[in-house]
Amino acid sequence: MTTPETQPTWPGDWLRGVLELCVLGVLADGPTYGYAIAQRLAEAGLGVVKGGTLYPLLTRLEGEKLVEATWRAGDGGPGRKYFELTAAGRAELARRDVLWAEFVTRTRRLLPADPDVDNVAASNPLEM
């Protein structure tokens, strides 16, 4: 888990590009609600994803039938909207998972293979 001290500031474009895939990945573990998804993303080291970014994304996934949502009454708390991957969502996650791995591999090939980079990253990975 990434602690606040080691939390890097990711470029906004990176997060925007990968957030949908990450949300699908979180939902692969089972049905959950918006705030819990935001917490999982933060624990994974992606930083704080604001509600204003997360919920429209979940609504879009719902509109694309990749997730389905149901409201459940809270047990002594507020009602929550639970999101769950559909069969189409699981298939899309598997497809994007493969694509993402290939994308990372190809991107990495373009970056300098200077061993010093790895050394610097190992010593102080978050202040590069």
Binding site: K50, G51, P78, R80, K81
Partner: protein, 239 residues
């Protein structure tokens, strides 16, 4: 009652007021607004954040939400027959009421002109046609036809009254006011029973508070306009 214990924020605060208004202005349905509002409430309760902190500016957030859901088309949601019935009631009742009030002010009968009766009939037909072909007029490529339809409506309702001013029917002023009052009351009740779309709690199905000016603004538009017209008739020079 339990819901209210956990959701005191549903007594809308300025952020939620602005959020709901922005969604209403983007033709988002009451069910979808209630869903978005409940998500804001749940997230803020869980995170302990204020809406401004978690979701940013309410209008910007409403725009993001509206981009992801399908807006309601009010014209497409009403049947042409119902639109025609309501139009006929209002277009006949308004000149009947105004001529009745005018008759009372003069101490004479209500005089309905040929033009006002023709206008009610033609205006009803025009409104029915516009609602019938709303899907065609909604097409952005049909901008010319849309403007044409608006002018057709206005012309159909007002033109005949200007052209044919001679009296077609004379009624007792009180009878005229009574008929108009019944028609307008029936129209008002009918519209009030079916709309406007209310914001609904997704868990309970209960309607939620709507920003205060929205519902009265829709329901009282015609009565207030008529009241102003009646006052003008009563206090205009010559009466």
């Amino acid at each position: 009652m339990i819901k209210n214990l956990f959701r005191p924020r549903h007594l809308l605060d300025p952020w939620r007021d602005n959020f709901v208004i922005a969604l209403i202005l983007r033709n988002i349905s009451g069910g979808q607004i209630g869903d978005a509002l409940a998500q804001v409430d749940a997230h803020c309760t869980d995170s302990g954040e204020e809406p401004e902190e978690a979701f940013g500016d309410p209008v910007v957030y409403a725009t993001s939400v509206a981009e992801q859901v399908r807006p309601v088309d009010l014209a497409l949601s009403m049947s042409p027959l119902r639109a025609g019935m309501l139009a006929l009631a209002v277009l006949f009742a308004v000149p009947t009421l105004l001529s009745g009030v005018s008759g009372l002010a003069r101490g004479g009968p209500a005089e309905l002109s040929i033009g006002s009766l023709v206008g009610a009939g033609v205006g009803t037909a025009a409104i029915t046609l516009v609602v019938r072909f709303a899907s065609v007029l909604k097409d952005p490529r049909q901008r010319g036809r849309r403007f044409g339809a608006i002018w057709l409506l206005l012309g159909a309702m007002t033109g005949p009254s200007i052209i044919w001013t001679s009296t077609a029917v004379e009624l007792s002023a009180w009878l005229s006011v009574g008929i108009a009052a019944v028609l307008l009351a029936a129209t008002w009740v009918s519209l009030r029973a079916t709309g406007p779309d209310v914001v609904v709690d997704p868990l309970t199905g209960d309607s939620l508070p709507t920003p205060r000016w929205i519902a009265p603004g829709v329901h009282w538009l015609l009565p207030v306009t008529l009241a102003v017209a009646i006052l003008l008739i009563l206090f205009m020079p010559g009466h």
